[in-house]
Symmetry: C2
């Protein structure tokens, strides 16, 4: 690990991870809802990304003992602390995409 | 491309790219200086990362016709507009690394 910036990238810096985080900003989501929103993601990849986020304390997973079991994901306080980063990345990317359109 | 956040990731989101950018914040650097600072980077990888940053308008490359030729890199105005992102990523990563130490 060379730097704090790199640590942040390791937590959020893969394509699907930022898209999963974006879905969870301000919302509690079920696995199946995430799968439907993230077009093209495989259940295996979604599961791995959520698992890493949970391991890093970014996402909280709650299982409700229903039949069939309901599994919900939401951001932890640490996860919510990523929102300003996602926001500046969003704004910069929107302006960059516009310039290069 | 799913989102502006993803556009930003595509521009800055590889390990060496953020480290190259960090070296260029506030400094003009020669290729050889970057190579020395970024321990473990291959000349080929450094060259490709700088080439992509130049193509995206983030980095400006200037060749001075000396013998041997001197090649200098610096951030463009667009590149400098990434500084707030790198800064929030730095701060978040520093706090995250401390928590997980």
């Amino acid at each position: 690990m060379h730097s704090p910036v790199e640590a942040t990238l390791q937590v959020i810096g893969s394509k699907w991870t930022v898209l999963v985080l974006r879905e969870l900003v301000g919302s509690v989501r079920r696995f199946s809802e995430l799968e439907r929103s993230l077009i093209g993601i495989s259940p295996r990849t979604l599961s791995m990304r959520l698992g890493n986020l949970e391991k890093n304390g970014i996402v909280d997973r709650k299982v409700y003992p229903e039949i069939p079991p309901r599994v919900e994901y939401k951001l932890t306080a640490l996860g919510r602390s990523l929102e300003p980063i996602l926001k500046v990345m969003h704004n910069w990317g929107a302006s960059f995409t516009k310039k290069n359109a």
